[in-house]
Symmetry: C2
Subunit: 368 residues, 2 copies
């Protein structure tokens, strides 16, 4: 998608053929900074410390991380190579617990690497598999966009006015290789000329709504930021026609683990008869888990709650120099910071997948 | 309540007999700064610009503001005095739209002033009425605390362990003259030795949770701050035994206008069988409004969403010098900022009033 009018992807192979280039999302939307991942440890750190985030992008980054591990150990004899790569795969898989894409991508790489011959051939196979995962993600997002735009188009036909969509967190192109999951629906609807306005939840902590508002604005989609507290009132007032969110992991029964706060929006949508959709690429579906309560929920550092980063208003805009940190609470305040919550399937109107808009009961047969 | 071990009230008469002293809450919890309101315009500004907030305290401040207006115009002949004071009362009443306490306090002052004779006697009557409103608030909060502590005590007896209460915004002593409404229940339970832990919603925008966490800590009540997004997950996990919030205005049918986001917590409580209580002093009950959808909801400036104030971590703690502002979104981002939402009565388990814990049906006969 576009940044300042120029097309970007959130992860790309480095020009040197031995690295992967990502956008350091911790510095967005204030600064566009790239980071070159040169070994698997850098990939683990980028995932764990959230230089990048979003379940599909985490999967792609882990896939490229597996390739980097193969390159690092290429000179080793087969057995030590296998052991070193397996350790790297395990550390990639453990970088974050909630998104199932991480496990999925690592499993694919493990299988692809196993099938190839020499360490050099294994590295080549891992690169091809990482490329496959990235291009499949592009194709999946395009299909999700097509199906989701259909929903927005139908709402527009029915209501004869601009459609207001509320979204939480960033299920945007920055959370995937390109286009996004929830945002793919918005971009596609916008491309089709459907009048559209997006309510963007701020999404505390870490404020990924700042990313969503920024990427929507960069790509011409009208949007307004609201605090996470506001969606309920807007729905009561008829100011939200649909909610579309992403997913970090969906269990077999359709329960959805997604950024903390998603469940509250689903409850409000249900209470007000607003349709609530989950944009779900098949790699985020986990048929191995019976329901959402078995999904591991990451507890993240309390500093993400207690402290924010922004721009110093007095120092003008843009550039890294004017970024400031602010502590929001009195010294000594204690905070808890669960990263995700679980939205029960009964609150989900439909799952926008690459295979169409599905109901919970249809997920296992369509996606597993 | 205590600040650094010393007892304070949130509004007191100035030592000069011609002013009211408040705590400038915009600077809390980072700095304890007092402000002397010397005329009614300063009282209007303090209410409108949220130097102080909380429905009961707004009522008390408006009452003292009416007294200040009488003092300002005392030298005028009766007719111009009456006109000037009435204009002042109108501007106090219009300072903020949602809390009904403002209208209630101004009406009481209008009646008290009307009954007295000369401008000097009217000023004296207004002072007595302001004192009455403040001391009634104290008595109301004490009774609310007694009834609410009974609820917490019963939960503790039933569960045989520390009770986890979630609260939203600051229905604390800082929102009243002393003790608070929701927090009065917590302080009283704590005083009775009931083991207790409070989940404090951050409460974006304006982050009044920082006030709540600070005042609870200053008064020895264990607490943990969470983002507004987190309460749903905690309830699903059985980590919340009760929700207790305040109210800016409650309509005749029991619908509750309170700080934005309250409705979402009520939905989550309902979905998880967690009792949801509204601490309701009778002056916040508005029998003139049939239901919550008629309550005017204040739309506040977008800068409250886009920008936060905190402490610069590198400059150490405390003192005004190290406060920083941070813009959280890309330049040009647009935000909406409704200040309150409406929680329908069907989601409220009980209203903790000075006359006991009531159900919605009983409010009109008990409080009106």
């Amino acid at each position: 998608m576009l940044i300042e009018g120029r097309a970007h992807r959130s992860i790309e192979e480095g020009a040197d053929g031995r690295s992967a280039r990502i956008i350091d999302q911790r510095r967005l939307p204030f600064e566009l900074a790239f980071e070159d991942l040169r070994d698997h440890r850098q990939a683990v750190a980028a995932i764990r410390d959230m230089h990048l985030r979003g379940a599909p992008l985490i999967g792609a980054a882990a896939a490229y991380g597996a390739w980097l591990a193969c390159l690092e150990y290429e000179a080793l004899p087969p057995e030590p190579f296998a052991a070193a790569v397996e350790a790297a795969l395990a550390s990639l898989e453990a970088a974050r617990p909630t998104a199932v894409n991480l496990r999925w991508a690592v499993r694919r790489q493990r299988a692809a690497i196993a099938k190839a011959g020499s360490p050099r051939e294994k590295a080549e196979a891992a690169l091809l598999e990482a490329r496959a995962i990235a291009s499949e993600d592009l194709a999946i997002c395009a299909e999700i966009g097509r199906h989701g735009a259909g929903i927005i188009e139908a709402l527009h036909r029915k209501k004869g006015r601009a459609i207001n969509v509320l979204t939480h967190c960033n299920a945007g192109w920055l959370a995937t290789v390109d286009r996004g999951t929830a945002t793919a629906c918005l971009y596609e609807a916008n491309d089709r000329g459907i009048p559209l306005h997006v309510w963007v939840d701020e999404t505390r902590p870490r404020n990924q709504g700042a990313l969503t508002a920024w990427e929507l604005s960069q790509n011409g989609v009208p949007n307004t930021v609201i605090c996470d507290n506001s969606g309920g009132l807007l729905m009561r007032r008829g100011m939200v026609d649909a909610v579309i969110v992403g997913a970090d992991r969906v269990a077999r029964n359709g329960d959805v683990a997604n950024k903390i706060g998603t469940y509250l929006k689903a409850l409000a949508a249900h209470d007000n008869g607003v349709p609530f959709y989950v944009a779900l690429p098949s790699p985020s579906f986990d048929p191995e888990l019976a329901d959402g309560d078995s999904i591991p929920i990451e507890e993240r550092p309390q500093d993400e709650v207690l402290r924010v980063t922004g721009l110093a208003p007095s120092h003008g805009h843009g550039g890294g120099a004017s970024r400031v940190e602010a502590e929001l609470f009195a010294p000594g305040t204690r905070a808890a910071n669960p990263g995700f919550d679980v939205t029960p399937a009964r609150l989900v109107s439909g799952y926008i997948t690459e295979r169409g808009v599905l109901r919970a009961e249809a997920l296992a047969s369509a996606l597993a």
